[in-house]
Symmetry: C2
Subunit: 172 residues, 2 copies
């Protein structure tokens, strides 16, 4: 029996979601059953969807879109809680070899989800299921619970790059 | 005309190649023409190949396999130089929208390739071609020349994980 790893990609740099996506592609190549659920984001890029569709993988958006500057976050909080309920069900369903919870750290760090409850559900998951959690500001207790944690640190990101971004296909 | 970015993923942590792989998948989804060439490694995992084959992407191994403990590195150095010649041709061919040179920093940091020569070829590339270079110990002059640099920093990688690794589908 393979041990399921809990992997966290955090930090202020680029590549957190992208690395999770690469891992998903590898897993699919090994015939593993994978799923990717995205918090906060309302949807992913068309390119991501088209490529993953070709591999038979669906990305499930759980968010209400960008919440920046919105005063009333009640709907966003509700969506995050409903999204997490769905994740918790999948974790214990035995239907997946690897699950990616993209940007889960955001509703955690904003206090929309209870960190202890989330960690408890992660620890109760079907043995052998790998989980990858991405997003900046991962809570310390989540890092404690994880097997493998990488910080993506921004070394260089000049102004002209952010002006050009996002570019099709290179949406970090 | 889209500006081609020079992106470097470096650091001692996991996810450098995996993030490049995720970026490649996004680019393919956008209908971009992509290529991935791997230095040092003799070949990638079967899972990686199967998934990328399904997307119509080939990974080209340029290395002679693991060189650790080998006293005579003449063959490895020669393979790296031949590999770079091939990369330089592709860079100016106009045949690619995005090229990934995986682990290119290794032959650079070992002195097998001339950093100035490599940077000059990168700067002469077909306008609009994105390049992603991965590997630890990226030379400072390469970082200077890059548009976007991320350091993947290992935060947590307990002994039991390295004992279990590599696991099929989760080969960081």
């Amino acid at each position: 029996m393979t041990q399921g790893l809990l992997i966290v990609n955090t930090g202020d740099g680029k590549g957190k979601t992208t690395a999770a996506l690469g891992l998903l592609v590898r897993a699919v190549g090994h015939g593993m059953r994978v799923g990717m659920l995205q918090f906060v984001k309302r949807g992913t890029s068309a390119g991501e969807h088209r490529a993953l569709e070709a591999l038979g993988v669906e990305i499930v958006p759980l968010g209400a879109g960008c919440t920046l500057g919105r005063e009333d976050t009640a709907l966003d909080e509700q969506k995050a809680r409903e999204g997490w309920d769905r994740c918790a069900q999948l974790l214990s369903s035995g239907a997946y070899d690897a699950l990616i919870f993209d940007e889960l750290t955001l509703p955690l760090s904003w206090g929309w989800l209870d960190v202890r409850e989330v960690i408890a559900a992660l620890q109760r998951r079907t043995p052998g299921t790998h989980v990858v959690i991405t997003g900046r500001d991962a809570p310390p207790s989540l890092i404690d619970a994880a097997d493998l944690v990488t910080e993506m640190r921004m070394v260089k990101h000049p102004y002209h790059v952010s002006r050009l971004a996002p570019q099709a296909g290179i949406e970090w």
